[in-house]
Amino acid sequence: MEDKKSPPTPSWGSPAAADKTAKSDSGGTPPGENRYTQWYEVQSGDTLWKIAKEHYGDGSLYTEIFKANQDVLTDPDKIKVGQKLRIP
């Protein structure tokens, strides 16, 4: 997990953040998935904490992302570059 003190780019809610999330879902909405589900493609150096901090402003909410992606994640500390994660 990333240290709480590390300053992630505070881009949540900005058009840039929305674009980044949307464009990461290059494959479109999977069948049976809510078309409004927000997706994020894991980048090099990402952690769930960092992703949660970016989207929610609070890294400790990484558990929400982990819970929403238990079909692809078994360990919150193990995410892979290129993985597409739901951001609830």
Partner: protein
């Protein structure tokens, strides 16, 4: 001249009587022709006014013209123009029914789309709001007041959606779609506020 003058007067009176009688003979049919057209418009009912207002207005304009002609005692003119107006008036019922069917089909298609997408948008927004409500520090671009307004707006959207589904269940597809479109507008605004996009 003395023998011819009374005879001429008699002929003039007879001709005048025929003219008056002829006029009276056309007055009643002209009156009936106008009444028939008005009855046909009335028979088309509210659906015609609702779904084909321009066509109803066109017939009503013709009725107004016919009445003006009638007032000028141009009964012959009324009788000449009335059949076309009557045909148009009698066509209003079927035209309204066809337009109504067309619009109901369009509403059904729209409802099918909205009844699928709107609940998904609401669910996604609710999910994000639930998580943000747990956040100790909201992200950049979001503050407590904005989040509160999102919650309020989302609650209103949920209420409107309930009304839409109730209208749909009651068979009022037009009202259901109208409300659903309002909810769609609302959820689109909320998605933008939250920095979310459709998949």
């Amino acid at each position: 001249m003395k023998t011819i003058q009374p005879y001429t007067r008699f002929i003039a009176l007879v001709l005048a009587a025929f003219a008056i009688a002829g006029c009276a003979n056309k007055m009643a049919p002209a009156q009936k022709a106008i009444a028939d057209i008005e009855a046909a418009v009335a028979a088309a009912g509210e659906d015609a006014t609702k779904y084909i207002p321009e066509q109803v207005q066109a017939v009503n304009d013709q009725v107004a013209n016919l009445k003006a002609m009638f007032d000028k005692k141009d009964y012959k003119g009324v009788l000449a123009a009335a059949p076309a107006a009557l045909t148009q008036a009698q066509g209003l019922t079927s035209a309204a029914a066809a337009k109504k069917t067309e619009m109901m089909d369009a509403y059904a298609g729209e409802w099918s789309t909205l009844s699928s997408s709107v609940p998904e948008a609401v669910a996604a927004i609710q999910s994000r709001v639930d998580v943000l409500s747990k956040s100790k520090k909201l992200p950049a671009g979001m503050d407590a007041a904005t989040l509160d307004s999102v919650k309020t707006s989302l609650a209103e959207a949920n209420t409107m959606w309930s009304q839409a589904t109730e209208a749909q269940a009651a068979g009022d597809l037009e009202q259901a779609v109208t409300l659903a479109q309002q909810v769609k507008t609302r959820t689109d605004e909320l998605l933008t506020t939250l920095g979310m996009t459709a998949g």
